[in-house]
Amino acid sequence: MTKKKEELGSHLLGKDRLIWIYTQMARIREFEEHVKRTFLEHPGAMRGHTHLADGAEASIVGALATRSPQDFVMPTYRCHGQPIVLGTPPGRMMAELYGRKDGLCKGFGGSMHLADPARYFPGTSGIVGQSIAHAAGAALTAQVKNTGQIVYCFFGDGASKQGAFYETLNMAAVWKLPIIFILENNEYQAYTHVKLEDANAQAGEPLSKKAAAFSIPGATVDGTDPLAVYEEVAKAAERARAGLGPTLIESKFYRLSAHGNAITVPPVPTQFPEHEAIGVYGNKSEFKAAKDNDPLVHFRSHLLQTSVLNESELKRIDDHARAEMDDAVKFALASALPSPGDATKYVYA
């Protein structure tokens, strides 16, 4: 169940770690803000569909704060947040989004298909729910090779209605795979509110209830609080490392941007529309409440209040993140487009 913030202290983590968490959250936010601005400032630089992680920062960073250096991280097509935490150069990520030669995947994947296997991020799927099985496969590798690695598998509330979710959680439980299933409940399955498509949500119950179907632990945590996420994921990580199998954690937060940029047909330019709460449901108050509970702003005040950092120290982190992502955009814009003749490369190994 959702923990009250007051129950959690910063005692779990040292000062350096708290600063690290804030820094990564700020970097993710800045990256996504730069992506969003690209639609206005450099129209045409990005093609297809782009999905942002703003609102998910606390959940992503809180979870990955429990990670050991060689653990696998398997997000979905909403995949900009995790590699930033793993140390993937943002310039190469941005260049991938811009379809450039210096992109992380040389322009072959785009926003939905980032991959940085050297940093234990082997790739993503653009098809909802399917990467849950891939993540369990990475856990199988760790188990068979007895490497001690565990897998952080991120997916959305929508994905938890895919067959791949049910099949994979069952198999992961039967095989006791070292994996943590982090169900990011951001309240919207693309454009549909979770209460319209999820039986647990409709009954007013947490989505982590699904864990009971596989006889594995399930927990719901406040995904806007990185320390709450840290605490719950740490337990699951310990369980996975001990060979006791998977855990399902529902991390509740609110996606602060629309599902993705508007789907337009060229030459009509695309950009981010209003959030579905307003654009589809006309629910301005819901969206305002979510904005007021912005995890980044929240954690920033927490660090101020607990005197971990003062205003000027926080500002330095913010400025640094902004400058880093300014540079990422510059790097991406300066990078050449791929050679067209390379299009048949990488079909087969």
């Binding site: 399917q130 990488y346 190994a349």
Partner: protein
């Protein structure tokens, strides 16, 4: 030394030998290795030989995730139709991840399944589905027609760095033949000329190779010399060997157990039309299943599928056109 072996045994030998050779090979599927008496389980242990639930999407998806992180999984799927419930993983995950990552990962896995079970299994367990996968660059497709090929192609599939759909034909399971002992790997994309001849070229796969060879035997008695080519892999496809044969014979019969609609036969016909038109002395003939699901009752099934007589008849008609473009 070659040893006489059944087609089914040859596959088991390939898996055991490759698992012996490479610790990264793992093997799992439904209803296998269920008791401690299982020979594979005894030899390789529960970590590498596993029982899977009836969950093709997870079984194959887990194989994809395991492959991109360093294992070489073989998934025993039993019947190729069972792959249909996991088509996203087969058509849109396994063959895409390497490409989308700009070549950073590879996906070495084998999806092993039987097909074409023509023994009263009716509409949902008798199909030839390879054409649904032929349109997917990134996948490889192997279809052995003999015990030796069953072993050599499976060893190659396990060693391949790409996702391979390995389809064995149910009706060949008990067929025997000489199989080389020890390491035997047949490179993909190399067709095998199963019988040489001068008048007509037949290209066939799976069970249809056997039917075509029987037809060729009959036709030889009628003084018609038939060359039978088995491509062995449909992706990659050895068009070169087919063109070379057509250059010699000038006549081509394509035999495919699948329905004619978008069959492998149609694809090969297209390749030959583009690259071997000048050598053709008669139109290309297609002998395929009729465009219908597979029926249950025996006379209905027989009517629908290609057989020795239909193949022979197609060859005879082409030879009768000898005068067309001599």
């Amino acid at each position: 030394m070659p040893r006489e072996m059944m087609y089914g045994e040859a596959m088991a030998a390939a898996i055991a030998e490759e698992m012996e050779r490479d610790d990264n090979v793992v093997f799992y599927g439904q209803n296998m290795a269920m008791t401690e008496r299982d020979p594979m389980l005894k030899k390789f242990g529960r970590s590498r030989v596993r029982i899977a639930p009836i969950s093709e999407t997870a079984e194959i998806g887990i194989a994809v995730g395991a492959a991109i992180t360093g294992l070489r999984p073989i998934v025993e799927l039993w019947m190729s139709e069972f792959m249909l419930v996991a088509m996203d993983q087969i058509l849109n995950e396994a063959p895409r991840l390497r490409y989308m990552s700009g070549g950073q990962v590879k996906v070495p896995l084998v999806l092993k399944a039987g097909f074409g079970f023509s023994a009263g299994w009716a509409g949902q367990h008798s199909n030839c589905l390879y054409h649904t996968m032929m349109g997917i660059p990134g996948l490889k497709i192997a279809l052995p027609s003999t015990p030796a090929d069953a072993k050599g192609l499976l060893a190659a599939a396990i060693r391949d760095e790409n996702p391979v759909v390995y389809l064995h034909h149910y009706m060949l399971t008990l067929d025997t033949g000489d199989v080389p002992d020890g390491e035997y790997v047949i490179p993909f994309g190399v067709a095998d000329i199963k019988r040489t001849g001068n008048d007509v070229t037949i290209v066939a796969t799976g069970w249809m190779v056997k039917k075509s060879l029987a037809a060729a035997e009959q036709l030889a008695r009628e003084d018609i010399s038939v060359e039978v080519i088995d491509p062995r892999t449909l992706a990659p496809l050895d068009v070169e060997t087919i063109i070379k044969s057509v250059k010699k014979t000038g006549r081509l019969v394509l035999v495919d157990q699948a329905p004619r609609q978008s069959s492998a036969a149609v694809v090969i016909a297209g390749e030959v039309a583009e690259r071997g038109f000048e050598y053709l002395r008669a139109p290309v003939a297609l002998v395929t299943a009729l465009d219908a699901p597979v029926p249950y009752s025996e006379p209905l099934e027989n009517y629908l599928l290609p057989n020795e007589e239909k193949i022979s008849q197609a060859v005879r008609s082409l030879v009768a056109e000898r005068s067309l473009r001599a």
